[in-house]
Amino acid sequence: MKKNNLLMGGVAIALLATSAANADDKPVSGGALRWGVTTEPACFDPHYASQQAAFFVARNYIDSLIAKKTDGTFAPWLATEWSISEDGKEYTYKLREDVVFHDGEKFDAAAVKANYDFVKKPENAVTAVSLLQAYDHAEVVSPYVIKLVLSTPDSSFLESTSNVKLGLISPKSLAKGDLCGGGRALAGTGPFVFENYTRGQSAVFARNVGYNWGPGNAAHSGPAYLDRVTFRFLPEYAVRTGALTSGQVDLIEGVQPTDAPLFAEQPGFKLLTGPSGASTSFTFNINYTRPPADDVRVRRALRDGFDLEPIVKQVYLGTVPRAWSIIGPANPAYNKALVGSWGNDIAGANKLLDEAGWTGRDSEGFRTKDGKRLSIEVGYPQPYVRDNRDILIQGVQAALRKNVGLDLNLRLITAGEYAKNNANGTWAIYPNTDNPSDPARELWDMLGSKGFLYSNIPNPDQEITSQIDESLRTTDPVRKRQLTDAIQKRGVDQAFIVPLFAPSWFLAAKSNVNGLGFEAGLDSPSSAYDFWIAKK
């Protein structure tokens, strides 16, 4: 009896394996996918979203003019061809003529103009406006040709037009006002239609049956394979893992490193890590104008006062590398020269703090100067906390406390408090991973005088901001590369920024879920467009 069972088991596994292998060959249409994700987007409208984890959700219903390929070049999408004028100020796109928004409206040059003008309009206070700094106006050349005109050359603009934040929404939807709640009101042209959103629970997308305008970098064309995709918001690690193992969902994002072996080794599941390295690192961005961090010695002590390697290793169990630069190692613009150039110099850090006058000690062992504790607050907005990053910061906090007596005061704050601190320039340290875009644009956003973070501080660093501005203006790729290298170097050397690690995304799925992948432009999992479920 027992033997029999074993035998049967063996056969069953073998059968499963062969059927899986067969199924791998040819994608089939149909089926519904339930995807357990960490983050419930605060806003589903890509123009207004700012959470990294909101963008791959938006990609299911939002298309862009062009698509970014893994090698950094671009593929056609809603635009079939594009050209840039000699002076770098005019971008002309020839649009597909068969595209229809989910609400039945026709997609054309006027619709593109409506979107870009909407984002640019200051009253609309759109987050994505950072990508349109140089944008001046759009001209409808013919019903399906649009010319985007810039006031100054912008080396990041082509990439920006591939960005999901500048994705195209039906002008009729734009007129409705607040689209953050998603649902049918938010009509894009994407492979899925936004069916409904239940707060705290799920967002449901249904296949856009007439979809025939997939991006040139996708694995297939035509409509999506899946009938339906349900995003379920499961903020707890244990709950996501359990939901997948018990079959409540088919796919999860944000696998706890300790749970990774469970899916990598167990039959019936698969584990995927990607993209191969981050576009931007997870970093501490330091407000270098606010005491005590206005003193470069304090910032350098913070940067060098701990050994990052074992902390990253312990928290992520060796699944992600520590970072050396602001830009991630897989990004072509990564400045490799920074590797090994800083960090883990505890004696040096203590010496710097002594020199800076932080020589006293209080009852808890922290350094003091004139009776004031050496304390710098890390204000981490709650909606952005994910991927064990708060734990990583706690590790750094513990090490800095022990090694150099610096109080790195981690505080989880609300989005509103963050917005206020940002507007007043009163933030101290912001833990950041920049939304992916062109490297010059990323550096501008992260460190530039008009970027999202440093725009309201008094007297931003002249050297770095002028380098950033030049890197955006230049049309010479060699010069641009020199500048982005220099910016990365200065950022780390002055310890405006302390890079922490190069994040990866962890997906785990049932083994019959196929076509999973990552999208270069999002630096995150791709949309569900190419996903398919093998029939058993």
Binding site: E236, Q256, T258, V315, Q397
Partner: protein, 304 residues
């Protein structure tokens, strides 16, 4: 036969007022286990445990040489053993050290909450306990109103107004606890007010005010430490719940509720960070309940 009571001082609460039962969180179950001899064993154990708790909150480093905030990063998630009695968490911090250091926060916030609730409860309870029907009615309805809000939710509302943090959850839990303290004090006041020796004092020509100051007030105040002990357990329970929700002290503070909240992320591979802080809470609450109930019964005995 004296049946163990499920409500503190319940002899004084008229049984036909059912709203009075709808107290804040607990009427806490009696902690008398079996006969007198058993009571003593439980009582001794509880007393010893509470003594440890107090020692641990005053001088936690007597019990452990590990730093509760800084661990060894290469020693993450080690199971309990000789090196680490309760194992380590994912940042290599010693769970035993964190549990010991956490005593301070739980006791501090717990007693803080009791102090706030009892402070307001004493004033209101004494007012209601006077021979003035209108005042009594008004204050009693106020208690009804406050206790109609579920305690945890009322505390959450107050935290919304005041913001997160240790002091604020103590205040929130205290306010939510006003009706239960107030009712106890009111009943106690009435009981003493109507006691023979007090009525006699009035007959001997003392004014009402003199009677109140000389006889009623001291006898009410004498009960305060006992009331505090009876309710500290349930208060610690609510406090730990609010901390667990992230409304109290922030990480890396080794507060028990915070530690349990952190433990969930590694629960599948490590049970220890999710077990020991919880044991500490439950043991603390039981110990205080046993002592509180014992004190309460002795006190009642003396009054009778």
């Amino acid at each position: 036969m004296t049946a163990p009571s499920h409500r503190a001082f319940d002899t004084a609460v008229p049984l036909d007022v059912p709203e009075d039962l709808a107290g804040f969180e607990t009427p806490h179950p009696s902690a008398t286990i079996g006969g007198p001899r058993r009571v003593r064993l439980g009582l001794i154990l509880s007393g010893v445990f509470v003594a440890f708790l107090i020692a641990a909150s005053i001088a936690p480093s007597l019990f452990t040489h590990f730093d509760p905030l800084v661990g060894d990063f290469s020693e993450g998630l080690k199971p309990p053993g000789w090196a680490h009695l309760f194992g380590t968490d994912r940042l290599g911090r010693d769970v035993f050290a964190r549990t010991v250091f956490g005593t301070r926060y739980s006791l501090l916030i717990g007693f803080g909450g009791v102090a706030v609730g009892l402070g307001a409860g004493i004033v209101l309870g004494i007012i209601a306990g006077q021979r003035n029907r209108i005042l009594d009615e008004a204050v009693s309805r106020l208690f009804d109103m406050l206790s109609s809000f579920p305690g945890v939710l009322l505390a959450m509302l107050i935290v919304t107004f005041l913001g997160q943090g240790m002091l604020n959850i103590a205040i929130a839990v205290g306010i939510a606890g006003i009706p239960k303290f107030g009712r106890v004090v009111r009943a106690q006041t009435q009981l003493i007010r109507d006691a023979d020796y007090v009525t006699q004092a009035a007959i001997y020509g003392l004014s009402r005010w003199q009677v109140f100051i000389r006889h009623v007030l001291p006898n009410v105040l004498v009960a305060i430490p006992i009331i505090a002990t009876v309710y500290i357990g349930s208060t610690i329970l609510i406090v730990s719940g609010l901390s667990f929700l992230g409304l109290g002290p922030q990480p890396p503070t080794p507060e028990w509720g915070v530690m349990l909240a952190e433990s969930r992320d590694v629960l599948r591979v490590a049970w220890w960070p999710g077990v020991f802080p919880g044991l500490a809470i439950t043991a603390t609450v039981i110990a205080f309940s046993v002592i509180g109930n014992h004190l309460q019964q002795r006190f009642e005995g003396r009054l009778a």
